[in-house]
């Protein structure tokens, strides 16, 4: 790595530094405006009636008593929602059928999970709305419930959607089923590969439904104006994705929908699909075009937003004595919830991705169960998959008497290898990331003491480029107003502004980024897939190049030289022996305002790898796992703002630890969610986590990106449960094959061991 004397890598002036984030002061002083802070004149408050049953036919809905309650302005049911036809819709991180999206917004014939919206009310205040919701009379015919994916695949299981047919490797099945899709990746001859192996390990794993756990509940304000224009203010990862869903679900022309994104208190994939926004819009129209605000309670968020899939996974891997893997096979059953669309496709792509394999077969099943419809959650589908594969890899390394890092080094994929799901790998930094852990003081120092163990695991994530549009105007003082449409869920205003500042050769503080709504900037894909710093960074670089061209012309005019003679480097324009800085040049004045815009769609986002190492101590009397030390190395390409890259890694590890140790949806036999609160849904708190040491591996800048950016937001949620399981094995001798590895389960396994 080339280090300049000022400590910045590769000669960068801004990239690699740690300026204060543009949104920081507003957030720490409470001035930032989140969705629930918005207040408009004449505002009404909406509330949703939700199904008390996990599976039931809706026989009738009587809203008359609710409508008669003083203060109630509108009541809606699915009858108020336009009928929409089957249409596959891509929202970047997830794909869904529009008809199912509509039925998830408001149940039409059947309620498919506990908490499924049935009706909604708008009233003068939230208390009246709550009371009115309780006055709606719904007659249900409860139906048998299926909660487990593998049970839902059995003949005779309760069928959730009568018309559903399996998409069997691209061909449609003929029988009613809960299996929405079967996908497969195949290469070589798996059985021949296993025949070659000296050791074969095969294990089955179970993971539970878990939630993103963003602190800010879903919220939205809608105003459906008399002129037919719909304005939505909400907390979302993508204003344009909300616009498109509103347009499709409410059959409104896209030109009649404006979406203004407000600040977001966390999303992690869970704020791409709309839940409340279409209801608020319908209520607004029905209530005489008054604005309607809706906010979920925590219980509603857990019951009826989009957690990620529980799963059952079987992995079989074989290797020669020298450590080389000869064959690997995986079967993944992912629970989609009440409607098709689990992240099993991504899981199938992740599960064997770190390993160079000549013989492989992966089968994935997307299965309906009576749980909320799964939505994206940080590296969707990846954590479940790696939990299974990395535990088997660990066991295989152990059986061969090999160091787990060395075992992975022997089998590591590199540039030019083909992924299980097809694409060729570009330059990646996986091997360098493995070496970063192997050489880290944490890994080199032996772990001592009873009931302690160390585990390692690796993770792969695809990353995404996506479409971005940006524009900028240069102010008279040489500062730059940057307008972007990528909602900022992880510090991206800082990382985007820094890339523009680097391109222009000005200070990060001289770029003022602003995230705006759908009417004020060109199209932007959602903030997801670890794409924003990469993709929107790509766009601001293009924008900066355009601004520099305008500035070169200004300099050429100033010096009366040909524009070809003006060179620009690091914010200094020069021709011959004359030179002038960006700011000085702006101060000279421009006859026309200096503005530019750019729109880009880079398609070669480099995938990310993470290698984690964790030390645990297990209480032999209670099964409680205490994390002693955690080191997470990640292939980050180039860290634009290292603090926020570290923050992404630490946050991802914290979520992965929660998934691994305590988080789970707990249902009774009738499918009622029992732990719909943050007291009983146990995400880790600060006292449950050690300092998470994030190691940024910057050996492999992403080819094709002007600054070598690699998406960093997701991959580090993938290894933690597997790393913990492997550490628990070293500490106790038991292999935990089900998540979460909560104290009671670990204790039970230790007793049975």
């Amino acid at each position: 790595m080339a280090m300049k004397e000022n400590g910045h890598k590769n000669g960068y002036r801004v990239i690699g530094t740690r300026p204060i984030r543009p949104d920081g002061v507003d957030k720490v002083t409470g001035r930032a405006v989140f969705g629930a802070d918005l207040h408009l004149p004449g505002l009404l408050y909406g509330k949703v009636l939700r199904s008390p049953h996990a599976h039931a036919r809706i026989l009738s809905i009587d809203t008359s008593a609710a409508e008669a309650l003083p203060g109630v302005k509108a009541v809606i049911t699915a009858a108020d929602l336009p009928q929409v036809a089957d249409k596959v819709k891509s929202l970047g991180e997830s794909v869904g059928n529009l008809r199912y999206m509509s039925e998830n917004t408001l149940a039409r014939e059947k309620a498919l999970y506990h908490g499924h919206p049935i009706a909604a009310v708008a009233a003068e205040n939230i208390h009246v709305a709550e009371e009115a919701v309780n006055l709606i009379e719904v007659e249900y015919e409860p139906l048998p419930v299926v909660l487990d994916g593998r049970e839902a695949m059995q003949p005779g299981a309760p069928i959730l959607i009568q018309g559903l047919r399996t998409d069997e490797l691209g061909k449609l099945g003929s029988e009613p089923t809960n299996v929405a899709a079967h996908i497969q990746h195949k290469r070589g001859d798996v059985e021949a590969g296993f025949a070659e192996a000296d050791v074969i390990i095969e294990r089955e794993f179970r993971t539970e439904t878990v939630h993103q756990g963003y602190i800010e509940p879903q919220n939205g304000v809608a105003l459906w104006n008399d002129d037919g224009h719909i304005h939505i203010w909400c907390s979302t990862q993508g204003a344009f994705a909300v616009r498109s869903q509103i347009s499709d679900l409410l059959r409104a022309p896209i030109s009649q929908v404006t979406v203004t994104p407000l600040e977001i208190g966390g999303a992690f994939g869970g704020k791409i699909n709309v839940y409340l926004e279409p209801l608020a819009a319908l209520l607004s129209r029905k209530a005489g075009h008054r604005p309607v605000k809706m906010t979920m309670t925590r219980a509603e968020v857990l019951k009826a937003s989009g957690p990620t899939s529980g799963s059952w996974i079987r992995v079989r891997m074989g290797a020669k004595k020298d450590g080389r893997i000869t064959a690997a096979q995986a079967e993944l059953v992912y629970e989609a919830g009440g409607f098709p669309g689990s992240p099993v496709g991504a899981g199938a792509g992740v599960i064997l991705a770190p390993y160079r394999l000549d013989n492989l077969q992966i089968d994935g099943y997307d299965v309906l169960v009576n749980r909320p419809k799964a939505s994206a959650y940080r590296a969707p589908g990846g954590t479940n998959a790696a939990y299974a594969a990395e535990a088997v890899a660990d066991e295989l390394a152990e059986a061969l008497g090999m160091d787990p890092i060395d075992f992975r080094l022997i089998n590591a994929v590199k540039e030019g290898d083909r992924r299980a799901d097809g694409p060729m790998l570009p330059r990646i930094g996986y091997i360098e990331t493995l070496q970063a852990i192997k050489n880290h003081p944490h890994y080199r120092q032996p772990l001592e003491g009873p009931h302690r163990g160390r585990g390692v695991a690796v993770g792969f994530w695809f990353n995404w480029g996506g479409k971005s549009s940006v524009s900028a105007s240069v102010n008279e003082d040489g500062t730059v107003n940057l307008v972007e449409g990528s909602t900022d869920i992880g510090g991206s205003r800082a990382s985007i502004a820094m890339q523009l500042a680097e391109t222009l050769g000005i200070a990060a503080e001289d770029v003022h980024p602003q995230v705006v709504g759908t009417d004020l900037v060109g199209y932007n894909d959602v903030t997801g897939g670890s794409r924003t710093t990469y993709g929107t960074g790509y766009a601001v670089h293009a924008l900066g190049v355009k601004l520099n061209e305008i500035m070169r012309e200004l300099a050429a005019d100033l010096w009366d030289v040909d524009v070809e003679e003006v060179r620009v480097e690091g914010g200094v324009f020069s021709a011959g022996d004359r030179s002038i800085t960006f700011k000085e040049l702006v101060a000279q004045g421009s006859d026309t305002p200096i503005t530019a815009s750019a729109a880009t769609h880079p398609k070669d986002a480099g995938p990310a790898f993470a290698v984690h190492c964790v030390d645990v101590e297990v209480d032999p009397e209670t099964g409680k796992v205490t994390i002693l030390r955690y080191t997470a190395a990640q292939d980050v390409g180039t860290a634009i703002h290292p603090s926020y890259v570290e923050g992404q890694i630490q946050g991802a590890v914290a979520q992965g630890v929660g998934w691994g140790l305590n988080e789970e949806y707990i249902y009774d036999e009738e499918g009622h969610l029992l732990n719909a609160s943050l007291l009983d849904y146990r995400m880790p708190t600060a006292p449950d986590l050690p300092m998470i040491d994030a190691v940024l591996v910057e050996e492999a800048p992403t080819p094709g990106h002007p600054f070598g950016v690699r998406g960093v937001g997701e991959v580090s949620i993938i290894p933690p449960p597997a790393a913990l399981a492997n550490a628990i094995h070293r500490a106790t001798g038991v292999r935990m094959t089900a998540l979460p590895m909560s104290p009671s389960r670990v204790m039970k396994a230790m007793i049975e061991h």
Binding site: H127, T622, N675, L678, L679, R682, T685, S744, M747
Partner: protein, 300 residues
């Protein structure tokens, strides 16, 4: 949340009068950390909420080595552990006071409220029971005093009748060579409800090697917090030994009648009763031995 009437009272009599006048739909508000959440979430309803934080007797705390601790029913946990003489005299109560909720909640939540909420998993109740605490209850017919272990009768229910108000908790002064501890097991280290909670208190002989008496109380393993009387009594007169502690732990396990729910299985809970009984007894013995030295130092 439904509308309700609100009254802030300044005397016990006034509170009792208001509570007695309602047909069971009045609720007492002190810190509100349970009541307000329950009302908001629709798990409870109230026609009248009587705020007792303005009643001096409920907000006062007195301690002397003769009369023990008189703890107003609405005194928040934070005031307990911030009071140095009280915190030093009752480390076993402070174990519980510093566990209930986070710092913000401890600024509002009281032991009296924790007792009246009558959760089987309440942290303060096993600690109070092993300290031989009593509850002073005021009602239309006057005042009565009952042992804390008799207050709770079912999950969420106490023996208090409509019109009655918990005024004060009385905790005897620590005897010489007395030690107590409360510990709970939670999957997380913060913001969690006890899967099992165990309080233990011991008084040792002058040499500190025999039990004079012991009390063990259990949380979250029965419909109410439970005094495991036999387990404690069995230690009286015995030498302090691993075997004696093990035997007490076994008896405490026998006294528990845990259920399986989302916090843990019955089997796991019974196991934890044994583990925590051992751990709290060891902690209580350690404190008793140290208290012995301090006590003697005080007398010199």
């Amino acid at each position: 949340m439904q509308a309700f009437d609100y009254a802030r009272v300044s005397t016990v009599d006034e509170a009792v009068r208001l509570l007695a006048a309602r047909n069971g739909d009045a609720r007492v508000l002190s810190g509100g950390t349970d009541l307000l959440v329950a009302l908001r979430e629709g798990r409870d309803s109230a026609g009248l909420v009587v705020d007792v934080k303005g009643v001096p007797e409920l907000m006062e705390m007195f301690f002397d080595r003769g009369g023990g601790l008189m703890l107003g029913a609405a005194v928040p946990c934070q005031r307990m552990y911030s009071d140095e003489p009280i915190a030093q005299a009752f480390p076993g109560l402070m174990d519980a006071a510093s566990l209930i909720g986070g710092v913000q909640v401890q600024g509002r939540a009281s032991f009296g409220g924790n007792l009246c909420n009558a959760s089987p998993a309440a942290d303060s109740i096993p600690a109070l029971i092993v300290h031989k605490a009593t509850a002073v209850i005021a009602g239309p017919g006057g005042r009565r005093e009952v042992p804390v272990e008799e207050v709770c009768v079912a999950p969420g229910r106490t023996q208090l009748q409509p019109g009655e108000l918990l005024v004060q908790l009385r905790i005897p002064a620590p005897e010489p060579r007395f030690g107590a501890a409360y510990q709970r097991f939670t999957p997380r280290n913060e913001m969690d409800i006890a899967v099992v909670g165990v309080g233990a208190a011991v008084r040792l002989n002058a040499d500190g090697d025999h039990f004079e008496w012991a009390r063990i109380a259990l949380g979250a393993v029965a419909p109410t917090p439970l005094l495991a009387a036999e387990a404690g009594d069995a230690l009286a007169g015995k030498a302090v030994s691993e075997a004696a502690i093990e035997e007490a732990a076994r008896m405490a396990q026998a006294a528990a009648s845990p259920i399986t729910d989302m916090s843990g299985t019955a089997e796991f809970r019974r196991r934890l009763v044994g583990v925590l009984t051992r751990r709290t007894l060891v902690a209580a013995i350690e404190r008793a031995r140290r208290a012995g030295t301090h006590w003697n130092a005080d007398l010199r």
